[in-house]
Assembly symmetry: C2
């Protein structure tokens, strides 16, 4: 009899052998690594059958919590830092080093209204206005003219437009263009940080880990210019109580800002956030955005 009794090591070999005829080399590479790391994880913690079944039940719940307006698996990837690692690797793959990138998140929407310099992206501001300004440049400081700057954020209560009012109306989001010197500025209200959704299986995990579940206040940016690599990033407010404990690990030190009195700001009298973005030249690769509109992720059938 040639078949051996499978143990926790020879099983790994048998799986890799059975997958060895995979014609797509990248699928083979990813599946092989997934199997090796999954098995190593199970061996390291000596997962029991009861724990395995709990894990199966958890993943099933995560899948079934996904809908056209909710992507619980992206949330799981976010709170475990997997999205942040993918994002960091993607940034390293760029040929040049531009502004640090951050997560796109699930609230990006295409087709926001295009506003002129200085206009306010909040329809009915219920908090003091601030001004956000700066330049978009390339690696050598050359201005990126007519760059498209897509901005979106929560209101002063920590809610995106999709979470309040009519989902057909876009608010707290707008698109701007840079001028001939690559300059931009717009007015807005200071966004508030917010909790990730805690009413699903991922929220239960986060609570069981005694994590607060909050993201610090931030403004999202998606910036594109001809010949440059698209930049997905966000600016985080340094005086937020959760600035050092973002539940989804999107904060990088170089993206932390403050709204301050600033005599150089284009709209005196308002607190100002000053940030200059630097774009990398475009590389020969598909653009990457770590995050997605839930309705556009394959697999959501409801």
């Amino acid at each position: 009899m040639s078949t051996p009794d499978l143990d926790e090591f020879s099983t790994t070999t048998a799986v890799l052998q059975q997958m060895s005829a995979t014609p797509d080399p990248r699928l083979k590479e990813i599946a092989d690594a997934a199997v090796r790391h999954l098995h190593a994880f199970v061996r390291e913690v000596r997962l029991t059958p009861a724990e395995w079944l709990t894990g199966i039940g958890f993943l099933t719940q995560v899948g079934q919590a996904c809908s056209a307006i909710r992507q619980e698996f992206i949330l799981l990837s976010d709170v475990l830092g997997v999205s942040a690692v993918v994002n960091a690797l993607h940034q390293e793959n760029a040929r040049e080093r531009g502004t640090q990138s951050s997560l796109l998140g699930p609230f990006y929407r295409e087709g926001a209204p295009e506003l002129s310099c200085g206009e306010c992206l909040v329809r009915h501001p219920a908090a003091p206005l601030i001004v956000v300004y700066g330049r978009v440049t390339g690696q050598e400081g050359e201005p990126v003219r007519n760059a498209l700057i897509q901005v979106w954020q929560t209101d002063e209560n920590g809610l995106y437009d999709l979470q309040v009012g009519d989902p057909a109306v876009m608010d707290m989001r707008a698109n701007f263009r840079t001028d001939d010197q690559g300059r931009y500025h717009f007015t807005t209200v200071r966004p508030l940080g917010y909790s990730i959704p805690l009413d699903g299986p991922v929220g239960r995990l986060v609570r069981n880990q005694r994590r607060h579940g909050f993201r610090p206040a931030h403004i999202h940016f998606l910036i594109g210019g001809d010949g440059y690599q698209e930049l997905v990033t966000a600016l985080y407010f340094g005086d937020d109580a959760h600035i050092d404990s973002d539940t989804v690990f999107g904060v990088s030190g170089s993206l932390v800002v403050r709204a301050v009195d600033d005599p150089h700001a284009p709209m005196p009298g308002l607190k100002a956030v000053h940030y200059d973005f630097r774009l990398a030249r475009s590389a020969d690769e598909t653009m990457g955005r770590v995050g997605a509109d839930p309705s556009k992720v394959g697999g959501v059938v409801r």
Copy 2:
């Protein structure tokens, strides 16, 4: 500014730090290991944002394919060999070495009819009968009297009772008791191997890996005796074409049998499978069964 720019290594540290207050030590141990291995996997293959999104979509599809009668995440665990590793570790945890265990699978049902020695577990056999016989003993060969032997299998076409006919009627399954010498025997038809369900996301993966998707013909056993650890196992037919390439890695060499002419068999004239089971003494642990009735796994909401 104390917040560093997160890279693919410092992100791991940040996640572990944020999970460090988890009060349940076992949850902390498992989540820490899961994060380290997940991040190592992503770094090793340098997963791109587009591949990450494909993975999110795949896992979402797997979750949404689960229902009260189908557990696609268990199937995924099975075809990646994760279930087999959990099973192997569970067997090692036993204080004594009994018969090799195997996967419970999704077709086990409680409350099958109890039959007498020699009776046939198939209601309307459409193929030649075979006899299966042997003894159930402990570590020193002592007979296990009145052991409960639960048996289930496919028919000669590779289908379980739940896949043909009235689901309320149990067939191709029965419970037997050992006699005073620990002996058992029953008659049945030779089961046929079968393909795992290939119409879902896991099936698509298996096909993309050019795997045949078959399990070799087998008979499931769940054996319990007072003072002994429950044994979940199966006997596999050595002349099946897929005996060395079980899609779910349940086959161990010591579980491979053949139906042969056997003058010692209790029912002469029938091809016979002879197998003696050995039970380990019961340990102070929850019994483990790697497999489950889909309707009993947490998370299935439909």
